[in-house]
Amino acid sequence: MTALTRFQRIRMGLPTSSREARFAQGWRVVQMLAASPAALAGLGIVAALLLLAAFAPVIAPHDPYVQNLANQLRPPSAENLFGTDEFGRDIFSRVIHGTRYTLYIVLLVAVVAAPAGLFIGASSGFLGGWVDTLFMRITDIALAFPRLILALAFVTAFGPGLNNAILAIALTGWPPYVRIARAEALMIRRSDCISAVELMGASRLRIILVHVIPLCMPSLLVRLTLDMAGVILIAAGLGFLGLGAQPPSAEWGVMLASGKEDLLSGWWVGTFPGIAIFLVCMGFNLLGDGLRDVLDPRQES
């Protein structure tokens, strides 16, 4: 029998090093994910979002900000696939550029809220004692608050604007991650592998960062993906109310506000950005559900 190449070893699930083991595990996840058409659809949508955002200036046929008052409120046509808005701007191009805002919002919120919640939860669960009790009480209290209203109130306090909106959403979004990280930390706190590392003299900080947190990753990934759908909706709501992204930004929520104004004269102004929000949201939901079935079947939604 000839020796297997590294690629073959990973594919067949016969790793010979810890790095190969990680790849093998990732491959299993990909395989299981690929078996579900819904999850694949979600993945496709998210991938499309990334691509559109990356290549927006190339893909969009017109400049999203250039006004053309002679061309106001034109219905969809070959020239303007989604029609034009009240300033004569091409809605199709604006929708495509809107992907950049969506991606920006989603990434920033993820980068701020998730690690914070993760670290607090993992430390809380691992350290136990009064630290745990304190953080848990605070998190429970924070979880009982209405997220959208609180985000709105925060944005009012900070002043309208895209970055303030992101901060507000992130500030209301960390509790679920604390819960997840703490649950995982509690489970592995007493395990032998952690005890072994402790015996080798690892500091508690190191254990939390290097050992506990990586084990929380699967649940966290699922929660993150599902959360992104909610974040998009909240951000769009903020933009719609004029408290998030501001006109003339090509953010989808802002475009929906125009849609409301032009309801009777141009149904296309609000319809297409809304479809975009809906599609992206659905994509994250599908992907998140798929990931949950694969990575963490016991997690409740």
Binding site: A142, A144, I149, L150, L152
Partner: protein, 341 residues
């Protein structure tokens, strides 16, 4: 520790947590009010005043006190339901809220009823026919429900049913024609007009509420339906369901007599929580439909950076939210025989 003491400690502990939650909420709204970009003194007396008037007003408003004393005063005021005076309407915030809240309450109630009436049966059906096309179709319908923004659903519904088809009424709660016709008893237009026997107004009110309520209701149905499906599937895996089948019960008899009673508690909790979510959703939907409720009030207050109205409204909605959580918890304990004593 005797069982009695343990029980009392348990209840005290829960009460303490509820209390801490409300306190936390008030703290957050207090900080929001203090961090606002608008200068409250200027908002009260205007921009062009003498330094002396400015300082005096500032002292009057208690703003030169250290922060923790201000917080203490604020908590005391909130307990008296005194949220200050709104800068835009010049009325006390609590009067404003009392005036606008019934409209939102009515909308959220109708929305949650629609959501439950559609969501629960769909969820049950999807669970029973799991894996089939019916299940897939229902799951897609539900997925659309919670992936689409509620205000966009409202816009689409307005365009289709009001602008194009003309079967529903437009924005607002009722036609101007009927203003003042119906005496206000509960604040809920549908009930008040029915009680007064004013059926034309009733029909008009329905025509107005139907679109925003369906916008909210679809989202509610999606959430409730998803949860229902999950609950029913969990129960169908249980042994007692097999045993019930062995007894000779038909599949639907098993669902109605055995599975649903076991899901009842969770369903009630879910519907209560959904009501809270709809109150939140109303803030966005009311803007689309010019619905004169708390949502529109809050949106205007936010635009004006109204330092009293925004924390006040947030506190009220937040308090309702927290109370719904608490009530659900209590209902859960009361209705599940396993946790009864």
């Amino acid at each position: 520790m005797t069982q009695g003491t343990g029980l009392v400690m348990g209840i005290l502990g829960k009460v303490a947590i509820i209390f801490a939650t409300f306190l936390g909420l008030i703290f957050v709204t207090f900080m929001i009010g203090r961090v606002m970009p608008l200068d409250p003194v200027t908002a009260a007396v205007g921009p062009d005043v003498s330094q002396e008037l400015y300082d005096r007003t500032r002292e009057q408003m208690g703003l030169n006190q250290p922060l923790w004393i201000q917080f203490f005063d604020y908590v005391a005021a909130v307990l008296r339901l005194d949220f200050g005076t709104s800068f835009s309407t010049r009325q006390t915030v609590i009067d404003d809220i009392a005036r606008v809240f019934p409209a939102t309450l009515e909308l959220a109630l109708v929305g949650v009823v629609i959501g439950a009436l559609i969501g629960i049966p769909l969820g049950i059906l999807a669970a029973v026919k799991r894996g089939t096309m019916v299940d897939g179709l229902i799951r897609v319908i539900l997925l659309i429900g919670y992936s689409a923004p509620v205000f966009w659903k409202g816009l689409i519904l307005l365009v289709v049913f009001y602008a194009i088809l003309g079967v529903a009424e437009g924005p607002g709660r009722m036609s101007v024609f009927f203003e003042g016709v119906v005496p206000i008893r509960t604040g809920l237009l549908l009930i008040d007009s029915a009680l007064a026997g004013e059926w034309e107004v009733f029909r008009n009110a329905i025509g107005h509420i139907i679109l925003p309520a369906v916008s909210l209701g679809y989202g509610a149905a999606a959430y409730v339906g998803r949860m229902t499906r999950s609950f029913v599937l969990d129960q169908l895996k249980q042994e007692y369901v097999s045993v019930a089948r062995v007894k000779g019960l038909s599949e639907w008899a098993v669902i109605f007599h055995h599975v649903l009673p076991n899901c009842a508690v969770q369903l009630v909790t879910t519907v209560a929580l959904t009501f809270g979510l709809l109150l939140e959703g109303a803030v966005l939907t009311e803007t689309v439909f010019a619905w004169p409720g708390l949502g529109q009030y809050m949106t205007r207050a936010m635009f004006n950076a109204d330092m009293n109205a925004v924390p006040g409204g947030t506190s009220v909605i937040g308090a309702i939210f927290v109370s719904l959580n608490v009530v659900s918890d209590i209902l859960y304990r009361m209705l599940d025989p396993r946790t009864r004593q």
